[in-house]
């Protein structure tokens, strides 16, 4: 991990401006991503993980405002780029596998042509028809689809096939980073697993970095090296997947993991996470998790805990992380 | 068992409503009471959504304005402010029209052709024995607005404002009757088609296809030629055409969505008869969309009436279309702004009220269809 990081998200703060006031969607989030690394971002819906993903491509909603912070790709701050330069980075450097890939395809164009569109934009010199067809066929084979399907329309694909094709499209311009936002949520469990394994295999082969985003910690655990837990717009814990799984330090991470049943570990009582995520129009003072936190002290409601490095590559934002029980008898499944 | 299941439609209402309370001994009665309570509450909720849309409120205001116009003549005649001999929209006549004083400057009889221009120009109303240099008073009909006739008079000396008001009455009568007929038929046809499916469904849907495809006005013209059309005949025919036509298709697809809801299955399992299920479960859930289509039907009914009157194919006492037809056939429309009081009131009234119902319909659409709402 001595090479310079591919992507650095540095104290990013993003608000949504609404009629009722500013919604604090991303609050002081920092992480780095290296070549070939697989990072997972986990959290409840509305915790800001998709907002971060969209910010990386600068496709945030119209009412989003970056208050401070930087997103650096190979040292270049993406947030400062003019729009047309940013466009050149999209897909070429950072591609995305979207949430609900069912609707990621425009129904009126052939799947192959929609991939071709990305190729035509980013390859210089432009690929000839034969080269493009050849490339699309290779991509289809890589994700386990029949290359002839490239001439079909999206409605002729099944859900799993569409998702595979989305992955093929994401790979089409050899991006250095792929963001997979809930890549398998809409699919049935077996297809889910197949696709995740496929994605993992391709990632290893091509050596690209990948950011998985999911509300389901179990899905992510299998395919990531590093995992970040998000709560109410903040990154509360970041560390090696094995480490976070075995010894979560943030109370939220601890409760999240205890509320997830383990298939392979011993039987235990599941601890439900009580309460509702906070309203980000008016987030709680101090630590945003303190109203729901069983370990909260008075300090938590007043002072915001900083991100503290507790071990090599393992950081946590909690005043009382030492109080969190050491083991929850949950084994990581890398 | 039945009672509990019957109460299920309530479960589909917004969750902030408290669960309905029902007494098991009076099922059908309490059903409607619950439904009424739910309706009142969802009405309040929807009204809030509707009010957020300014355009819809503008539409509502315009409709209110025309409603006042429609009521006005009753009040004006009853209180004696208006005298029906003068202000009746059809047989009224202004006895003392404004006059224009003109001096006779030419020989009245053309010496070559021997035509007496007195009669041609002055419409026989001038005494015969006038001479060059004398002054004559020429009655001005149509007359521009004055204190007695706020919107002037038409070529026959009738009050335009009174005609406009009676036209509003005709428009409301026609529009609302047509809309009610449409909604009753379309809701029934849509619900029945969706519920039973099969041959009945195919029949109604093919009929609807046909009615959508054939130009509405062409049908009205032909039917108008066969039967002597009165206003309410027209309303019923328009109601039938749109009720069995496009609206039925839309309501059927809505009814199909309702049909697969669990409470319909539950009612069937509990032994509800077909009629019972259709009328107590499907129809009430199709209703909101029906109201929406009522608005659009009013627009097309008013426009249809005006077009038929304009073509002179309708036997009505007075209507906006008739006012335009009269002004047009007598050549006043092409004279431009000189006769503006014949030009604008009726044409604008038809346009405005159509726009108003259309806008209210669109605003209601946003209430019924959450997808259209601004986020």
């Amino acid at each position: 991990m001595s090479a310079p990081p591919l992507l650095e998200v540095d104290h990013l703060v993003m608000n949504y401006v609404t009629e009722k006031g500013d919604v604090s969607a991303v609050e002081d989030v920092s992480f780095t991503l290296h070549q070939g690394e697989a990072l997972g971002l986990v959290g409840e819906s509305g915790c800001g993980k998709t907002s971060i993903a969209m910010s990386l491509l600068r496709l945030q909603a119209e009412n989003a405002v970056f208050k401070s912070g930087e997103i650096r790709l190979n040292g270049e701050n993406l947030l400062a780029l003019p729009e047309d330069e940013m466009r050149r980075h999209r897909w070429k450097d950072i591609a995305m596998v979207f949430q609900g890939a069912m609707n990621a395809w425009n129904p009126v164009y052939r799947v192959g042509d929609q991939i071709r569109e990305a190729l035509d934009l980013h390859f210089r010199p432009r690929l000839s028809d034969a080269e493009a067809t050849e490339r699309i066929s290779r991509l289809f084979e890589m994700v386990g689809l029949n290359p002839a399907m490239a001439n079909r329309y999206p409605h002729e694909f099944s859900g799993g096939m569409r998702q595979r094709a989305v992955i093929a499209m994401a790979l089409s311009c050899d991006p250095s980073i792929i963001i997979a936002d809930e890549p398998t949520t809409a699919l049935d469990v077996i297809v889910q697993d197949q696709i995740l394994q496929e994605l993992k295999k391709i990632q290893r082969e091509l050596g690209m970095a990948i950011i998985y985003i999911s509300h389901d910690i179990a899905v992510i655990a299998e395919v990531t090296d590093t995992i970040g837990i998000m709560y109410a717009g903040k990154l509360v814990e970041l560390g090696p997947t094995v480490e976070v799984f075995a010894r979560p330090k943030h109370p939220y991470a601890y409760l999240l993991l205890s509320s997830t049943p383990s298939v392979t570990g011993p039987r235990r009582k599941l601890a439900p996470l009580e309460g509702e995520p906070p309203n980000l129009l008016n987030p709680p003072t101090g630590c945003r998790f303190h109203p729901r936190c069983p370990f909260a002290t008075e300090r938590c409601s007043i002072e915001e805990p900083p991100m503290e490095t507790i071990a090599d590559g393992h950081r946590v934002a909690c005043w009382n992380w030492r109080e969190v029980p050491v083991s929850i008898a949950q084994e990581a499944r890398p | 068992m039945t009672e509990k299941i019957d109460a299920r439609p309530g479960a589909d209402e917004p969750t902030d409503l408290p669960p309905p309370i029902i007494s098991p001994d009076s099922v059908p009665d309490s059903m409607w009471r619950i439904r009424w309570a739910l309706f009142r509450r969802s009405f309040a909720h929807n009204w809030k959504l509707f009010r957020a849309n300014r355009v819809g409120l503008v539409g509502l205001a315009i409709i209110g304005f025309f409603a006042l116009l429609a009521i006005a003549p009753t009040v004006l005649f009853a209180t004696g402010i208006w005298n029906s001999a003068v202000y009746d929209p059809v047989v009224g006549l202004e006895p003392n029209p404004p006059v224009k004083v003109m001096t006779v400057v030419n020989e009245i009889t053309d010496p070559e052709t021997q035509i007496d221009f007195r009669h041609v120009l002055l419409d026989n109303r001038i005494p015969n024995n006038i001479q060059v240099g004398e002054q004559v008073e020429i009655p001005q009909q149509p007359a521009p607005p004055d204190r007695r006739h706020w919107l002037g008079t038409d070529p026959l000396g009738r009050d335009v404002l009174s005609q406009l008001m009676h036209g509003a009455r005709a428009a409301f009568f026609l529009g609302i009757l047509a809309a009610v007929v449409t909604v009753i038929i379309a809701t029934t046809v849509g619900s029945i088609s969706a519920y039973f499916g099969g041959a009945l469904d195919s029949f109604f849907m093919r009929l609807a296809d046909l009615l959508i495809m054939i130009p509405f006005l062409a049908i009205l013209i032909v039917i108008g030629a066969i039967f002597e059309f009165k206003l309410w005949h027209l309303a019923v025919v328009i109601g039938l055409l749109s009720g069995f036509g496009g609206v039925a298709i839309v309501l059927k697809s809505q009814a199909l969505a309702v049909k697969v809801k669990p409470f319909v299955d539950a009612a069937r399992v509990a032994g509800g008869s077909n009629a019972h299920i259709i009328f107590t479960h499907i129809v009430p859930n199709v209703m909101p969309l029906s109201f929406l289509y009522m608005m659009f039907t009013v627009t097309s009914a008013i426009q249809g009436e005006a077009a038929l009157s304009f073509l002179g194919l309708l036997n009505v006492r007075i209507s906006w279309g008739l006012m335009i037809q009269l002004a047009n056939t007598q050549g006043y429309l092409l004279q431009g702004l000189r006769y503006w009081w014949l030009l604008f009131p009726a044409g604008l009234a038809v346009t405005l009220i159509s726009a108003a119902f259309f806008l209210v319909g669109r605003a209601m659409d946003e209430v019924v269809n959450p997808r259209l709402r601004k986020r």
């Binding site: 990621a104 569109e117 | 030629a225 194919l313 335009i324």
Partner: protein, 390 residues
């Protein structure tokens, strides 16, 4: 696709037969129908003449036989003789009027569909910006305006007041006194050349769209359209036949402008409003996000993805709009005294010229059905889910 076309065609033919049947029952077979009233039971006609009329009209035959004769006659295009323009054949009148209506109808349909779509597209893209409200209100105004009144206002303004365009009618009779052609010959020639040029241009644009690079594609489009325009100019100005006919064609074209413009203006608003809401809905779709993420420019996202997909619901609405445009056409023809099918329908109904009224109504029905069929095909071409699904 072939299966889709064949199925739609079969449906249309079936619907048309049903339509004719209903019309016939409405006009002939109902008790107290107009034909019996006018002839068989009219006390003003002497009994012998009445008997002759009954026999000639076949009213003494059983209903089903009457129906059969009527259907056979209809498909042999024999609609009898007009009462009012006796002894002209109804089929001749229809043949004369039909092209005039089709031109009015087609020109208006194509131009309002295209203009409305373009306007709606830009309107959606400018959502929330200034001017949007004004355009929307204007659109609603045009959409709900009382059509004949609007048309009369347009005539007053552009013809009577400004004098830019002729007031009404199909041509200026003074100029046609010594014309070496009939009006219909010129008219059809005009129609055919415009149609040929339009098809040529459409083909060029379609083919040009296959070119992948921007510059050559734009060049091919502009060149093709210019070539089409040049061919048109050459025919009417360069050839002897065209030059001879040109002043007359010009006269007809001049009379065509105002009715087409008015019909377009009114119908355009509906398409504009629909395109706008359809675009706004499409823009929330995930594939728009995908397109942006791929690095497409806003313009490419709008034109290639949002607009192309928003076209589908707009085309669906065109299915309903065919009937509305024909309705508008009937009123347009009446207001402008444009001698087409709609005007014939209204005058023949007013004059109780039954054979003509019936035939013109049926042909308006045919027009509507053919229009539907074409729009259905267009929809199939645009939506791969139908085209490929069969």
């Amino acid at each position: 696709m072939t299966r889709y076309v064949v199925r739609r065609l079969a449906q249309m033919v079936l619907l048309f037969v049903v339509f004719l049947t209903v019309t016939w029952f409405l006009l002939y077979a109902l008790p107290g129908d107009i034909v019996k009233q006018k002839f068989a039971m009219n006390p003003n006609i002497p009994p012998e003449a009445r008997q002759v009329a009954i026999e000639r009209l076949g009213l003494d035959k059983p209903v089903l036989i009457q129906f059969r004769d009527y259907m056979i006659n209809f498909f042999q295009l024999d609609f009898g003789l007009s009462f009012n323009q006796y002894p002209r054949k109804v089929s001749d009148i229809i043949a004369e009027r039909l092209p005039r209506t089709i031109v009015l109808f087609l020109t208006a349909l194509v131009s309002y569909y295209y203009a409305g779509f373009l306007a709606g597209k830009y309107l959606a893209w400018r959502r929330g910006k200034r001017g949007e409200m004004a355009v929307t209100i204007g659109g609603v105004g045009l959409y709900t305006v009382f059509y004949p009144w609007f048309a009369l206002m347009a005539i007053w303004l552009f013809a009577a007041e400004l004098g830019w365009l002729p007031i009404s009618k199909f041509l200026n009779p003074d100029e046609w006194r010594n014309a070496p052609f009939t009006a219909n010959q010129v008219f059809i020639r005009l129609f055919v050349t415009v149609l040929a040029v339009s098809i040529f241009m459409a083909l060029v644009v379609l083919l040009a769209n296959r070119i992948r690079d921007h510059r050559p594609r734009a060049l091919a489009k502009v060149g093709g359209v210019a070539l089409g325009a040049l061919l048109f100019v050459w025919y009417w100005w360069g050839t002897a036949g065209g030059a001879l006919m040109r002043p007359y064609a010009g006269d007809i074209a001049e009379h065509l402008i105002l009715p087409v413009a008015v019909l377009t203006a009114v119908n355009f608003a509906g398409i504009m409003l629909l395109t706008r809401s359809s675009m706004l809905e499409t823009m929330r779709e995930d594939f728009i996000l995908t397109a942006r993420a791929k690095g497409l420019s806003e313009r490419a996202v709008r034109d290639k993805h949002a607009a192309r997909t928003a076209l589908l619901p707009v085309t669906t609405s065109l299915v309903l709009a065919v009937a509305t445009v024909i309705d508008g056409g009937i009123l347009t023809e009446t207001v402008f005294s444009w001698p087409g099918m709609g005007e014939v329908l209204v005058t023949s109904v007013s004059n109780e010229d039954i054979p003509l009224a019936l035939a013109s109504f049926s042909f308006i029905g045919v027009m509507a059905l053919v229009g539907h069929f074409l729009v259905d095909i267009l929809y199939g071409v645009l939506d791969p889910r139908i085209r490929v699904g069969g």
